[in-house]
């Protein structure tokens, strides 16, 4: 048996995913799974998956999971974590889940310093329902519900969730990363690991916002989509660590 320099992590199930070709959910799932493997916590972790393209993540993570109503994952995670404070609980959410219908829940989970880890995938669009405007969509971005481009006068401006949550004392680690190139992917994995470590040390709420592509609904090839992310999303959503009060 050849020794492997790279293989599927244990915390990821060995099934074909339903994600579109080039969708970066697959990469982010893998990074989360690698971190869970490296920390050795698979058997004491419970994931809470959203409504969105990643609703089927309960089939992809090889650990206990609950599928939550749209936007409510942080509340569901709160229920799980309060029931089993010694276990590790994470949420995996998209734009609609965390930045639209679920803003109340994620703000309050962070405000309470809920000891959970939130993984927020920002691809500036609603994927599952067919490419509608997201709170994170850019001004002038054409989507299924902004066919003339997002009009700021009516539909406002994109939400920068990481910066907002960083103002809350209960939030101990908030970082925005991207998976559009190998260097950023490595930083993303490090941030994810830190976010889980904050929970393991019982310090408070941690979130990693991860910029990712949605080739299908952006109307681009997977490779072109990475370029669009770099040129358009990075200026709007700067990559940074917005809160880091670990060890506090």
């Amino acid at each position: 048996m050849a020794e492997k320099l790279f293989a599927r992590p244990e915390s990821l199930t060995d099934v074909d995913t339903h994600y579109c070709p080039g969708c970066q959910h697959g990469i982010i799932h893998r990074l989360v799974a690698e971190v869970i493997d490296e920390l050795g916590i698979r058997k004491k972790t419970i994931g809470v998956v959203p409504v969105g393209c990643s609703v089927l993540a309960y089939n992809y993570f090889n650990l206990d999971t609950q599928q939550a109503a749209h936007g409510r994952a942080p509340a569901v995670a709160t229920g799980v974590k309060r029931a089993h404070p010694d276990k590790v609980v994470f949420t995996y959410q998209g734009d609609g889940d965390a930045a639209a219908i679920g803003t109340g829940e994620i703000v309050h989970a962070a405000a309470r310093g809920e000891k959970i880890t939130a993984i927020f995938v920002n691809n500036a669009i609603y994927g599952m329902t067919g490419g509608q405007l997201a709170p994170t969509s850019l001004v002038d971005q054409v989507t299924a519900t902004s066919p003339y481009g997002r009009q700021a006068s009516s539909a406002g401006f994109p939400i920068r969730l990481s910066e907002m949550l960083a103002t809350l004392d209960g939030a101990k680690y908030i970082a925005r990363v991207s998976v559009n190139d190998p260097a950023n992917m490595a930083k993303a994995k490090k941030a994810i690991r830190t976010a889980f470590e904050v929970q393991l040390r019982g310090e408070g709420f941690a979130m990693v916002e991860i910029l990712a592509t949605c080739p299908t609904n952006w109307g681009k090839s997977p490779v072109e989509a990475k370029t669009w992310l770099k040129e358009n999303m990075l200026p709007q959503f700067p990559l940074n660590t917005f809160k880091d009060v670990q060890g506090g």
């Binding site: 050849a2 020794e3 492997k4 320099l5 790279f6 293989a7 599927r8 990821l12 060995d14 074909d16 995913t17 994600y19 579109c20 070709p21 080039g22 969708c23 970066q24 959910h25 697959g26 990469i27 893998r30 190998p182 992917m185 080739p215 090839s221 997977p222 490779v223 990475k226």
Partner: protein, 67 residues
């Protein structure tokens, strides 16, 4: 000698690995897998340096890198 191993049935032809490979040795196949995608392959794998960038760029865990 590091070698990339592709599970072609898992591949969705997204080309992210081809784009990621610094050696430019990944090409998309002329044939189709059972899902109708043209999977990524590495015919000239002697040039593989084992950097694993292709495997990391793949959203579908298609590629394993063997030592």
């Amino acid at each position: 000698m590091p070698k990339p191993v592709f599970r072609e049935e898992r591949c969705k032809g997204c080309e992210l690995c081809r784009d990621a490979c610094p050696q430019k040795i990944i090409v998309m196949s002329q044939t189709f897998n059972s899902k109708g995608y043209q999977p990524a392959t590495c015919p000239d794998n002697l040039k593989c340096t084992g950097c694993t960038l292709c495997a990391r760029a793949c959203p579908d865990v298609v590629i394993e890198i063997h030592k």
